[in-house]
């Protein structure tokens, strides 16, 4: 049976992790590679780097981070943030990323997703969908960290991206992101049930019940969280044990 994936996400700026400073076990908690190694050893099912580097000049730092991570971590690695061209994707894949997440570039030019999927295969093209509630059962797409409305309906957009060859949707509720009040379950379920490709639920996790709800009620294939892991509130092992006890199939940890 396929297991629900648990994915820690690291925000990386200028090659440094911007959140999660109280990992006592790490020599350098700001080093994304050290954190990646920790999550790998804890049995995370996948890892996500979100590059939030603002300046274009410093963007190349992420390639080195991905490269060094791939040297040591033998699990799937998704990298997102600032991916705009086929060359960006190629460089990330060559550095050792398995999947690349595209957001603004997809909204600006949807056929970019089709080109990318044709060139590199759907399996490595993730479309990041940032959605905000705009009324009962209705969500809109936003870019630029949730500041700019794209004037698109989230469900229709997810369907279009799946049709264009995306292999997965990374779905973030902008309403819930950072609130620790749980996923927007209606949103997650509406998108997940509307498309045949996997959905990764993101935005709002504050408790382990939220992780369970994302899969059980939101029908997500994977659940992504940042702060509950980075600030040491829960380990991957605790998360898996909790989810398993709640009836969500997860991959057992190898002792």
């Amino acid at each position: 049976m396929l297991k629900a994936r648990i994915i820690p996400c690291l925000d990386v700026k200028n090659g440094r992790v911007v959140k999660g400073v109280n990992f006592v076990a790490l020599r350098d908690a700001g080093d994304p590679v050290e954190q990646a190694r920790l999550y790998d050893s804890q049995g995370a099912d996948e890892l996500c780097f979100l590059d939030i580097t603002a300046s274009h000049e410093d963007r190349d730092i992420i390639f080195d981070v991905v490269n060094r991570t791939a040297e040591e971590c033998f699990m799937p690695l998704t990298v997102g943030g600032g991916v705009r061209t086929l060359d960006d994707i190629r460089k990330l894949l060559l550095a050792g990323a398995d999947k690349v997440s595209i957001n603004t570039a997809a909204v600006d030019n949807p056929s970019f997703v089709r080109e990318a999927a044709n060139k590199f295969g759907s399996q490595c093209i993730v479309v990041a969908v940032d959605a905000k509630n705009e009324g009962p059962g209705k969500w809109g797409i936003y870019t630029h960290g949730g500041r700019k409305s794209a004037g698109l309906d989230a469900i229709a957009w997810a369907k279009q991206m799946a049709a264009f060859g995306a292999g997965e949707i990374l779905l973030t509720s902008m309403d819930r992101d950072g609130t620790k009040s749980g996923f927007d379950i209606d949103l997650t379920r509406s998108i997940s049930d509307a498309i045949t490709i996997p959905v990764v639920a993101s935005g709002g996790v504050g408790t382990l019940d939220h992780m369970v709800e994302g899969v059980r009620d939101g029908h997500a294939s994977a659940v992504l969280a940042a702060s509950i892991f980075h600030f040491g509130e829960f380990s991957i092992a605790e998360t898996k044990a909790y989810m398993a006890a709640a009836g969500v199939p997860v991959r057992p940890l190898v002792p």
Binding site: M1, L2, F74, Q123, P252
Partner: protein
Amino acid sequence: MSRVAIIDYGSGNLRSAAKAFERCGANVVVTADPGEASAADRIVLPGVGAFADCRDGLAALPGMVEALTRSVIEDGKPFLGICVGMQLMATFGLEHGRTQGLGWIDGEVRAIAPSDTALKVPHMGWNELSFVDSPAFANGHDVLQDLNKSVAPHAYFVHSFHFQPDDGAHLLAKADYGGDIVAIIGRDNLIGTQFHPEKSQAVGLKFIENFLAWRP
């Protein structure tokens, strides 16, 4: 030290595969050169993407298919195909039309069809391996030793098509996803995984270690 050629035919995340083999102690050469492929002790054919594209990519390297056939089929060097690299061993594939494969293990590559239509395609993520007793490997397959220590072994899959071998004796492991998914096939000195051992943490590294020690 075992010298391993990972064939670069324009497909896939070769760095991940190379790093995993290096971690397991191999001397790795990533190559598009038939001469270098022939000089290696073991050959790995990775592959992500569509069957037809990968077959074209392999055919586009002059002399490569001939060099692989000589090394693997005639000289009997250990061969590992990963994902589409495994599928390419088939007689033919049905992704993007019917395409001839290498024809090393009789069978066809067809779309997975989970009986439960709520299951997502591609089949993406960690699934449990269930080993099949093959009459061809009555004492167990050397490459599959010690994969299930204390917990059920899981491996990372991402695919929409899978290999259907004509001869059930070539099926070594499967996974359940609304029906059987073919996870590992093999005969003689050939083995192939639908999942990605280079992305499957401890289970994958153990598999690679076993492949490097394998004397078929």
